[in-house]
Symmetry: C2
Subunit: 351 residues, 2 copies
């Protein structure tokens, strides 16, 4: 048996999640460009592309370099600051025949990208209310014009509606997303620039995006789902395709057990509206009340028979993207039995 803690993936559920998002996007006439930062795995990228994805989204040049092995159309959905070295790496990908598109959200960032990487395709990032990166939608035309002036090719705009990761927020946020992209589209059109691509998120908002403005969806988490998505109502427990397998190492008091699935395996994410550091599918009322590097302290409901010392227990992480980045491989399981291992090729490829 594989030593605990490790990450297990149910490939049947994974394939069903991939197929469901593909058909949901296709039914609305939307392109699907899944975010590969979630899985960082070539095998899973291949399955997404086979299911009809038009290309991949990544967050870093390092991820683009790795996924170029299986995909020739990659969008780096990030306002890169392209210094000489990153510019040269981007140029090398383009010269190797990969269609690389990069995010820009400022005139100065666009100018730097053009200097360092030469002519390259870009999408203008606009802020649809998450208030992270992205220029105001009303500034999309100015940023795009600066990019064009610098020698870049503007293909449209994108946004990340990350404020949809809050209970009850998805529908309203999806409307904000459409609105911001509509404003960006109009600003690009007014300058005679292309708006062929109008790209949005995200696992919580993708199912409720109308598609009236958007042309493309970039969800990532949906391949596995996670405890956060379960609590948001984006998925049900049967859609969970990844969990950490841990062992009960300590049970100092009744109703409280300690698993070896700590934050170095699960990641330390916990949104303010969630009281637990993970979801235990076999003990759905359990709460991970304390998480340290190698200890997950779990409180069980009083009516539940606790697992014994040495028992293996599954824990679904809160935020699967950070969980995956901590591991080197997935153990693929079918009906609880291992059937193979997949390398997490882009683990740590975060620059």
């Amino acid at each position: 048996m594989t030593a605990t803690p490790y990450l297990a993936v149910d490939a049947t559920v994974l394939d069903a999640n991939i197929a469901a998002m593909a058909s949901s996007a296709a039914a609305r006439g939307l392109s699907l460009r899944p975010h590969a930062k979630t899985h960082k795995c070539l095998e899973i990228a291949r399955r997404q592309l086979s299911a009809g994805a038009v290309g991949l989204t990544v967050a870093t040049v390092g991820e683009a370099e790795i996924f170029a092995e299986v995909c020739q159309d990659i969008f780096i959905a990030y306002p890169l600051w392209a210094d000489d070295a990153k510019g040269a790496r981007l140029r090398a990908l383009v010269d190797a025949g990969v269609r690389v598109t990069v995010g820009v959200d400022s005139a100065v960032g666009a100018a730097q990208l053009a200097v360092a990487a030469g002519a390259i395709d870009v999408l203008v990032e606009v802020d649809s209310g998450h208030h992270r990166s992205g220029c105001p939608a009303a500034d999309a035309g100015a940023v795009a014009a600066a990019a064009t002036e610098a020698g870049l090719t503007v293909r449209g705009a994108f946004t990340f509606p990350g404020h949809g990761y809050t209970p009850g927020a998805a529908e309203g946020v999806a409307e904000q997303e459409e609105l911001a992209l509509a404003v960006a589209r109009d600003r690009l059109a007014a300058r005679g620039l292309s708006f062929a691509v109008l790209s949005g998120g995200s696992t919580p908002t993708a199912p409720v995006a109308h598609g009236g403005v958007l042309s493309e969806l970039r969800p990532g988490v949906y391949v596995f789902n996670d405890a956060q998505q379960l609590h948001l109502g984006t998925c049900s427990a049967t859609d969970l395709a990844l969990w950490a397998v841990g062992t009960v190492v300590s049970a100092p008091t009744g109703g409280r057990i300690v698993l070896d699935t700590g934050s170095k395996v699960l990641g330390a994410d916990r949104p303010s509206w969630l009281e637990t550091f993970g979801f235990l599918p076999d003990y759905p009322g359990a709460v991970v009340v304390q998480l340290s590097e190698h200890h997950a302290v779990v409180e069980l409901p009083p009516t539940v028979a606790a697992p014994a010392h040495g028992d293996r227990v599954r824990v679904v992480p809160n935020h699967v993207c950070n969980t995956v980045n901590l591991a080197d491989e997935f153990v693929i399981e079918a009906a609880g039995r291992p059937t193979g291992r997949w390398l997490i090729a882009a683990r740590g490829a975060n620059r």
Copy 2:
């Protein structure tokens, strides 16, 4: 220049931290057995041992296997559940001449360890108030007797006073730690068992541990310190030896910048009493208000001139142990210039 984001270590500050803890422990007649899970780096372990550490502490069998290259006296401060495979790995270390000591906090865990690993040294883990693993101190005698009965060699007891990671808590928690170890000592003594080792934590409590009961300290974080220790008052800003180097990639509004040092580089830790996801040594009033995988959104005080797009900015993580586990190497810097690279050999060795 190294691509951002990356982890930089100031070796001068690191060496000063190592020397200060070594002399502080020696002045109180305490053994120092630093926790290597913080740095996961053979070069840093060598420096700790050269400065007088009696051995190393680790959290997993995987870390023990890696640090055995530089240390022949390793304590796994964790109540391992030793299945056949982990037992065999422990046995292989012992057979290779490494003095391995393992934590136990239950009779059933001790029995399993003896079956899987054979005769091996143990310390009984007791709970001094953190309420994670560890038996009640009053039960230390019973657990130790069970371990002895199973064929293990009891050398004493240990505790981790993790509830000392709260503002103002360290002195009171250090007293609880001494009290719990005193109870454990008396219970071991009453059964005629060894209490030669009475081992305690931790970076916040180590400086205030009296040493009346404790024989050994196991701090980890002190080699680097981090934003959490700074806010706890355990260290000052000049004692910070590690930071992530990031680049300003976006500045959508005045007073707010976005760095590429996201949670896949810093880790997502944020204790409830801390409002920021990191400390910016060059902008001490800045707050990292939002952290996602590749974005650290920073709010600057209105009186501070913001760094420009493309500028490099240092961010000290909240919890350095989880930060280090995300990286493959440290860039060693002296006066801001790179002088070398050290491998994080035990990155991911968490089982």
